[in-house]
Symmetry: C2
């Protein structure tokens, strides 16, 4: 799957992942009115609005991008109905040949991580049958438990040829509270980065490992160091745009081969029609605004990489 991701990045010339994190406040009124008309102002109505919103954005952008990253929390908040919309979104994006990164940030003791790995990347056995649960291509994983909490995910990745992005340095303002603490003179995130590199060595694709890392765009200096610590790990970079990460800072996250990083934008793309720059599209053409925002982001990053 890492090979497929890289192939799609090279073909699209867009190291971009669209974060499908559909807050209800991002969804235009006409989409909500239609969904609530069919299913009521209910959890099912919210899930329908999310699904229709996602579908329109995917239809308008899938030919330009290699990957999407649905944030499961935005679905899980609507309970079972929300998770049905998550699964529909995953399946639809895979039909469109997009690589799907499930942003689930799971992590637990070994036996529990094994269950999450089975449910999101692999299969479960029921009697003599096997079934995929959510069946994403990549997932994000929280490393707080250490190696034995991550290994079951790596094991399933090996079987299924799928991948992980392990949280190393997150994009939020408080991320330094624990992640930046100095241990033997170096910040904890570097130690986590070294572990990611070590885990990644054991599961290599052609050029890069199946085991990648999450490093926020909001901390470019740290990104530069982590790029060196994990030379073979793809870095998923959240925090560009709405969270404050700037294009010129993104150069640090890439390797000299022009690969090695994929930049996420969520709100900046899916709610583009709400920004002054795309106001001209209006809420009716929200998906066209998203398409334009993808094109602009691609050019923004291309400009930086060409320097």
């Amino acid at each position: 799957m890492i090979n497929k991701l890289i192939k799609r990045i090279e073909e699209s010339k867009a190291p971009i992942v669209v974060g499908l994190d559909p807050m209800l406040s991002y969804i235009p009124e006409q989409v909500k009115i239609k969904a609530y008309g069919e299913k009521g102002e209910t959890l099912a109505g919210a899930a329908e609005a999310i699904w229709q919103f996602n579908k329109a954005i995917v239809d308008a952008t899938y030919d330009l991008i290699p990957a999407v990253k649905p944030q499961i929390a935005m679905y899980e908040q609507f309970g079972i109905e929300g998770l049905i919309a998550f699964k529909k979104t995953v399946d639809y994006c895979k039909e469109k040949e997009l690589v799907v990164i499930g942003d689930i940030k799971r992590g637990d003791i070994g036996s529990t991580s094994a269950a999450y790995a089975a449910g999101h990347l692999g299969k479960v056995k029921v009697g003599s049958n096997s079934f995929y649960g959510f069946d994403e291509d990549f997932i994000t994983v929280n490393p707080y438990f250490g190696t034995d909490g991550v290994e079951p995910f790596i094991g399933v990745c090996r079987e299924e040829k799928k991948g992980l992005f392990v949280l190393v340095k997150t994009s939020n303002p408080s991320s330094g509270e624990f992640q930046d603490q100095l241990v033997t003179g170096r910040p904890l995130y570097e130690l986590v980065g070294e572990k990611v590199a070590e885990w990644g060595e054991k599961l290599m694709g052609d050029k890069y490992s199946y085991i990648g890392a999450v490093v926020g765009a909001t901390y470019p200096k740290m990104g530069k160091i982590l790029r060196e610590i994990m030379p073979k790990s793809y870095i998923l970079v959240p925090g560009y745009g709405a969270q404050g990460g700037k294009a010129e800072d993104l150069a640090h996250y890439f390797n000299k081969d022009g690969l090695g990083a994929i930049v996420n934008s969520s709100r900046g793309i899916i709610a583009a029609y709400k920004q002054a720059a795309y106001e001209r599209f209006g809420p009716e053409a929200f998906a066209d605004a998203s398409r334009q925002a993808v094109i602009d982001m691609r050019e923004d990053i291309k400009g930086v990489l060409e320097k």
Copy 2:
């Protein structure tokens, strides 16, 4: 909810939480045969088996215990169907007046944590209506993101009078890899413990805070120190029994008032019938074996607390 938890612990004289982590391998054949007969060897069949298994154990133990802790991964691995069984389990346990600790170990940047908090503890708004998603009483939370990743959970706890158990020192063998790293001379888990105490101060129940901590039974010396660092936080203690934590070590996790800790056992109770000590019950009476295991665990802990 922390007051209700303590009241129920005092009434039952059992600082015990039963971990409802139903691996299919724990479920007796007759339960699986019946469920698969009705719904096939499918995800729905697995979910039905899990639900019937849980229901029987809850029916056999609810009068003895204050709380249950369903581990969502064990349900999530069966996709949507599994999560429906999770929700049914949560609702049924609440009907039985049990305190439900959703072992979900979520955590993310602020806006995403807010969505998890809404979905598991609070409500979401859809148009002019509000709905609870999974509606547990407590949840477990991963602190890797720092304060701004935890605060949205605390905010919803304040509104809903619900609570958290934040991961501080986990029970698994590799937990030391990051959690034990020395920062300014002290292990990281102590720093996390101090933060839990600080967060907890802001949301107090009568005797204890709504914000508790997870500290594994497998690290009793660290448990003793963390007990002192977080005097007003309830400690959820996993790792007793199957993972190797011993009763005599549990004393460290309690305060002098005999309160302050609640000990989880999952496999040791729900799969008791598979152990030599409860073999006499046989698979048909698996729920009676679970009841006996709860009684024995209660006496085991009582013996330690009386010393």
